[in-house]
Symmetry: C2
Subunit: 451 residues, 2 copies
């Protein structure tokens, strides 16, 4: 067994030196032995000229896999530098779904050039068909390479027919069975075929209980079905149940990761998907929207405090706890909305009503609110011996925590009912609203207690 | 093909009525046709008595799969209600890794009872061996069911030997090859075996380039290897490269999801993994720690403002923008730390130094800081015609944004270098620190400008 390859800085440095020395043989020798995913990782970090030089030393099949594995932004830049013919040669070796993804990243003009250079016209047609599906549908994610047999065959016929089909299919997980009309009627495992004698009939092998998805289904839904039923591949059919393609678990892993990353960034107030390797401009642009919402919240907060300027002039110590009230409202709101957003993302069947969720959050907020208020009361009393301020802050705190908890629970539920992504609620909106309302509560309670 | 089963409230209600009527046949008929994952989902939401009644109507094999699919907290409660014999019967049908997971959830006393009831003593031994591995290692996650052949065999021998082994293995992805010492030396696909003639030698079939992991490797690292190389299964070996088991992608999907959920909750200030279905106490306990950190931050904030009480007494309008300064520091800190945390989680090879990351964040913070300060300057000038306050707030804002951005970048990098989970930095710590430092900056700049 080969020692597992460790990508390290020394290796990359050595490679760069080969490039600058123009040593084609050395590069060929040390790169073609690597896994395409490792080569892609190297191309992701060297500069464009170096990447092109290395890429052109690769065997054709490896080059095509490397192209698939590159990071999207690197690939985009990279493909601008390659000719349509070079891209088409790589496309010829790809699975149709990867090919479609990659061609869609090109300009319309270059797409046409690449299409005209693709030698396998069937492949070109499948790619064009996949590109017609809307983004984020099962159709856009499926591969048209799969193994399919007829229900009238026997095992021997299957094996000889599969020898032809299997060339195009990198991983065979299951064999699909269709009838005369190409309607999906069942499937069986490679294992059962291996153990069957040549004259066993397909109809005695296959199971009719097949989970399938429609080409128009949302890919995130496909992901949760595959996850729930522990499927490695799922067939994709059209409205008439004709078999169109299959989606494999490695794509779903990417979908799930993307989804998680998106939710995470949304909760952190980043409005579009960015990576630390993106440009300063891209990152700034993705982060500015939340800051502007925060700025608006701050201005509204200033307005609220301004209303109580007189109160503050008389009792300036009330200003001390403004940050505490604002921060706690934001914190509780983020916590409660995060729990709802996650439960909305995971549960397909949830018997709890909005009312029961609010009741539960009321319980949680009450417990935590009481704990925090009691603590802050004694801290203020102990540190400042100010009973009145202690009462104001601790009463406000529990009120703010209750409000923030319920509001943080309600908003994502309402958004989700209106088919808006509930994760939107976790970031800017909840925090800002809770800041402003929290201040209002604080000064109103202060007004009642002090005057 | 069977219509895909839609779990809905009506169905569950009907089932509950069958239970209360004690109609065993009706339950048997409508439940055993379902997929175990669907049955588990039903048991997750009905009450314990109903769940037990339904569970006892299941065929033995289905019952064991349902037990695996139940939510952890439901299963724990559920297993307390089952006898050791009932659990052992289910364990007999499970893959070793699922069995080990489930037994570990029992009390030590009940574990012993269950072990003594397991009929297949080999199965009991494998389970005990798996339970000896530390949590979150590859060893704890692997299944000991896999297909292994000797390098001296031919294809015909493989098939007849595999007929025996394959009974225990639900999904065969690859066939592993070992030598006399049971050392893993290669693997080949089921597809290549299917197409080989009976007298083809194993040594002409197998590839020696096998990615494997050690039993002591961390499961999250295993996940990123499988993801990177698009693997459906990976063999697990010991220090001497003896083959011990395999990890399949469905487990990794769970690992990745758990990891994402944990990071998400950490960023939202929830300190242990909770679900919306957990008890009010559990949720409160998971949320209280951040609130206490926030409370401490609020008290420190009060101390800082208290230092400038005199300044605030003379210029009470400075209090208006306390929430804005505090909120913006927190927001920027969360954004910048989130980007670093994600890049640390994804990139295995990162050439960027701490210095270059800080330089980039400086650029981003400068752009967004400038944008926000210019806006707030004109807002304050326009709304309040107060040039001095406008200057104070806008200067402080850009200083706070720069500080928060750099601090938010630095903290997760430092934590990660010290092998502490950098996600810890995204929630309470960064926000609280930034609140306090932000206030200090604001009042110091105010002091310079006003006095």
């Amino acid at each position: 067994m080969s020692e597992q390859f460790k990508l390290d800085k020394e290796f990359v440095e050595e490679l760069k030196q080969f490039v600058s020395a123009g040593n084609e043989t050395a590069i060929y020798d040390c790169v073609n032995l690597l896994h395409p995913a490792d080569i892609a990782e190297i191309l992701d970090i060297v500069n464009l000229e170096e990447a092109k030089f290395i890429y052109r030393r690769l065997d054709e099949e490896i080059a095509s896999e490397v192209l698939v594995e590159l990071e999207e932004d690197v690939r985009e830049m990279f493909m601008k530098a390659l000719s349509a013919k070079e891209i088409a040669e790589s496309i010829d070796h790809m699975d149709s779904d990867d090919a479609a993804d990659i061609i869609s990243e090109l300009s319309v003009e270059k797409q046409e050039q690449v299409f005209s250079e693709i030698e396998d016209k069937d492949q070109a047609d499948s790619i064009a068909a996949l590109m017609a599906f809307e983004e984020d549908t099962a159709g856009a994610w499926m591969a048209t390479e799969f193994i399919v047999v007829k229900d009238t065959w026997n095992a021997g016929q299957c094996i000889s027919e599969m020898r032809k089909q299997a060339e195009d299919v990198s991983y065979v997980y299951t064999i699909y069975v269709t009838d005369k009309e190409e309607t999906l009627i069942g499937m069986f495992s490679l294992k059962s075929l291996l153990f069957a004698s040549d004259d066993t009939l397909v109809k005695d092998l296959y199971m009719t209980d097949v989970k399938s998805v429609k080409a128009t289904d949302n890919i995130e839904e496909v992901g949760s079905i595959m996850k729930k039923y522990d499927l490695v591949a799922i067939p994709v059919v059209d409205e008439e149940k004709k078999l169109l393609g299959r989606i494999t678990i490695d794509d779903i892993v990417d979908v799930l990761e993307d989804e998680a990353a998106k939710d995470y960034q949304m909760a952190s107030g980043i409005s579009e998907k960015v990576e630390s390797s993106d440009s300063i401009w891209t990152i700034s642009r993705a982060r500015l929207p939340w800051l502007l919402v925060g700025l608006l919240g701050g201005v509204l907060g200033a307005k609220v405090i301004g209303l109580f300027e007189h109160q503050l002039g008389t009792f300036p110590e009330m200003a001390f706890f403004i940050p505490l009230i604002a921060a706690m409202g934001g914190n509780v709101g983020v916590q409660s909305s995060a729990i709802i957003v996650q439960s909305l993302a995971n549960n397909t069947l949830d018997m709890g009503t909005t009312y029961s969720k609010l009741a539960k959050e009321f319980g949680v907020s009450l417990i935590n609110g009481l704990a925090c208020s009691v603590i802050i009361f004694f801290v203020i009393w102990g540190l400042m011996s100010d009973l009145r301020l202690g009462m104001t802050v601790s009463l406000s705190l529990i009120a703010v925590i209750l409000f923030a908890g319920l509001f943080g629970t309600l908003v994502p539920l309402v958004l989700s009912k209106r088919k808006i992504d509930p994760a939107l609620a976790t970031g800017p909106f909840i925090t800002t609203m809770n800041d402003v309302v929290g201040l209002l509560i604080y000064f109103l309670i202060g007004y009642v207690i002090y005057f």
